[in-house]
């Protein structure tokens, strides 16, 4: 929307005459300082780092804006569309970055400021997620990553006659098929408890372990309707729902929190950032009852973000410098210690300080090591530009199976139909 339609100009002129007294504002502080804003969501752990950066750079003033994750991305889209108002540095979550990649001309190509020299800092897949045009356009620098593990409740496992040691639990489910067998054994013993919170997350985890999901790596075309891997993952996850082994919970909703509190399910897929959620939901009385084991099917990743610089900024260079500093291994390590956000750079997540980290709440699981390993063994999946349009469609379909509204086959057929519409 670069062009200014005549109507808009007229409206502006009119509005300006109506309220001549108002206006002005914006821009830099009068004291000659460069004012940078950084727009993030949830907790990026930047508050202390920003203070430090300001102290080291007296000519720079930084303002942090935090809103809810979905709001953050909607707002960013509006601001990019409107051409103003975006922060100088914006965080973009992994699930949303494919969509913003399409609008790369609204962002600064960080390669112009020398970002390519930093490539080796990140795990290759993380770096690639933040770039486009065969790596020539650097859209964002990676912050944290989710990695993937499986959290389980020790007391429920014990009651179901299953092992409780995290190594042994990990060996129970080398594959997702084995995971389903464990589910059957669990349900036979404890029919009143659910084995897993939601089929949606299981499905996402399985699909993210395949090389191609809904879209072809070669040409970004939609293949969700013919890719066997999609149907397999769907059927596998849906079978848990058909057998009523899931809690039919919307992931991370309030019902999910309550189910945690009531100890009504025994396992959940958990990226590093989910640990804090589980702890907050289950409460202090569940301390030591949850534990972390390796996920079935090898490693994986779920979530994590990037820092990008919108083109509307007045200070692309300063913004880039700050983003570069915030995402450097040293800082990522500190953030991990403060917030538990897992670093996305080998130099940080392989650092003994990180690998030696244990999480007391989760029965002192060596989370640094578990998540680090998972990230190492991960086979990156290709995410199409329209991935975020298709994902919710399949999530809804699984939910319909879980609540008994549809059979697996019907739900899948409907999802494929809707997905075709969504990518049209």
């Amino acid at each position: 929307m670069g062009k200014t339609p005549v109507g808009r100009a007229t409206a502006v002129a009119l509005a300006a005459t109506v309220v001549a007294a108002c206006g002005g504002g914006g821009g830099d502080a009068g004291d000659g300082k460069v004012k940078l804003s950084i727009g993030v969501f949830s907790d990026f752990g930047y508050t202390n780092l920003i203070k430090e950066y300001q102290a080291a750079h007296p000519d720079i003033e930084i303002e942090q804006r935090t809103v809810k994750m979905e709001q953050h991305h909607t707002q960013l889209a509006t601001q990019l569309a409107g051409g103003r108002g975006a922060a100088d540095i914006v965080a973009i979550e992994e699930g949303n970055i494919t969509q913003f990649r399409q609008s790369k001309d609204k962002f600064v190509n960080l390669a112009d400021h020398g970002a390519k020299d930093l490539e080796s800092q990140w795990a290759a897949w993380k770096w690639n997620q933040g770039t486009t045009d065969n790596g020539n356009f650097v859209l964002g620098l990676g912050t944290d990553m989710g990695s993937l593990a499986l959290c389980y409740r020790r007391d429920l496992f014990e009651a179901a006659g299953l092992p409780t040691d995290r190594e042994e639990v990990g060996k129970l489910w080398p594959t997702w098929e084995k995971y389903l067998e464990v589910a059957d054994a669990f349900s036979a013993k404890l029919p009143d408890k659910k084995f897993v919170d939601t089929a949606q997350n299981v499905y996402k985890a399985i699909l993210d372990q395949t090389e191609e999901g809904y879209f072809a790596k070669a040409d970004d075309s939609f293949i969700g309707d013919k890719n066997d891997k999609v149907e397999q993952a769907f059927t596998l996850a849906a079978s848990l729902g058909e057998k009523k082994q899931t809690g039919a919970l919307a992931p991370f909703s309030q019902d999910w929190n309550v189910a945690l509190k009531q100890a009504s399910f025994a396992t959940t897929t958990c990226p590093a950032w989910a640990l804090a959620l589980i702890k907050a939901g289950a409460g202090d009385e569940a301390s030591g009852k949850w534990d972390v084991a390796a996920a079935p099917g090898g490693g994986g990743n779920w979530g994590g973000s990037f820092l990008a610089v919108p083109k509307q900024t007045k200070h692309p260079k300063e913004a880039y410098e700050l983003a570069k500093w915030l995402t450097a291994p040293e800082q990522q390590k500190r953030i991990f210690k403060e917030t538990g956000n897992l670093p996305s750079e080998p130099a940080a997540y392989q650092d003994p300080e990180v690998t030696a980290t244990e999480n007391e709440y989760f029965n002192s699981a060596p989370v640094g090591q578990i998540f680090g390993n998972s990230a190492e063994s991960l086979k990156p999946t290709y995410r199409g530009t329209k991935d975020s349009k298709v994902t919710p469609v399949f999530g809804n379909a699984l939910s319909r199976v879980e609540t008994g509204k549809q059979s697996t086959a019907d739900a899948f057929d409907q999802a494929v139909r809707e997905a075709r519409d969504a990518v049209k």
């Binding site: 929307m1 670069g2 062009k3 339609p5 109507g7 808009r8 409206a11 009119l14 509005a15 109506v18 994750m69 979905e70 709001q71 909607t74 889209a77 509006t78 990019l80 569309a81 969509q99 913003f100 399409q102 609008s103 001309d105 609204k106 039919a248 919307a250 909703s253 309030q254 019902d255 309550v258 189910a259 009531q262 009504s264 975020s388 349009k389 919710p392 999530g395 809804n396 379909a397 939910s399 319909r400 609540t403 509204k405 969504a422």
Partner: protein
Amino acid sequence: MTVAPERAAGRGTTSAPPPAQRLSWRDKLGRLDAKFTPYVVIAPFFVVFGIFGLYPLLHTAWVSLHEWQLIEGDQGFTGLANYAELLSDGNFWNALGNTVSLFLLSTIPQLFAALGLAALLDRGLRGRAFWRAGVLLPNVISVAAVALVFAQLFGRDFGIVNALLGFVGVDPVDWRAETWASHLAISSMVMWRWTGYNALIYLAAMQSVPKDMYESAMLDGASRWRVFWSITVPSIRPTILFTVIVSTIGGMQLFVEPQLFDPGGTATGTGGDDRQFQTLVMYLYEKGFRLFDAGYSSAIAWVLFLVILVVAVVNFTVARRIASKG
């Protein structure tokens, strides 16, 4: 239309008008005043609306004729293609059905309840101010806060509604999963917020019904019920029309309540896993702000506008007929 002669008269260029008809400057000013002041006092509305309402609306119309990506902007003129697609879009018709269902479910009982409540409040009560303030209270709470609280009340595994149902032996209801249950829950939010408000509007109108009308009816020995329907309701007919129209406009644009009722919230919420409570504005929001399809979203906005127009006119006619009966 008579501006020019008057001006001419003012300048005194016409040949001597009869003295008796000569207007003093006060009269002339008075005429100008009567003619133009109305336009001056209604102008602010039209200026504000023109800039902040009409301009965006026309812009939206323009956008709806294009394939228009939210961030990237214009991708080419497509004429009425978005509208044609909309008419064969099952999700659109589903959303329209839900919107109408939610509207009927929340508005009709609400307006009758409000009438009854107003009639109660119109009686000789002790502590009038207290009761009136009490019924209006829900309306001052923000929709977002209301949605937040009702989400607690209607929780599947923890909500007090299911707890109460449990006491009387009813199985817990999954308020979000079932179509009828979700519509009931959302309607209850709307009703809670607006019944008292409409009751007070009715009350204000009832207070200006002349006393002697009641007195003569009472002398005729009419029952209270009959007096209410044959005197009170017809007397406040304009007010009832007013509330019907306002409720229609608000009801057809229902958004925040159902959107926040979806556990997916604004991020992935599609009004339930089968879109069972997705309203038109929610669909518009999904297309525009989540799928970035501004062109299609704009087309939905315009169709919605037309739907509201039609429903409002139908309502107006029906309500007028009902209110004028008896």
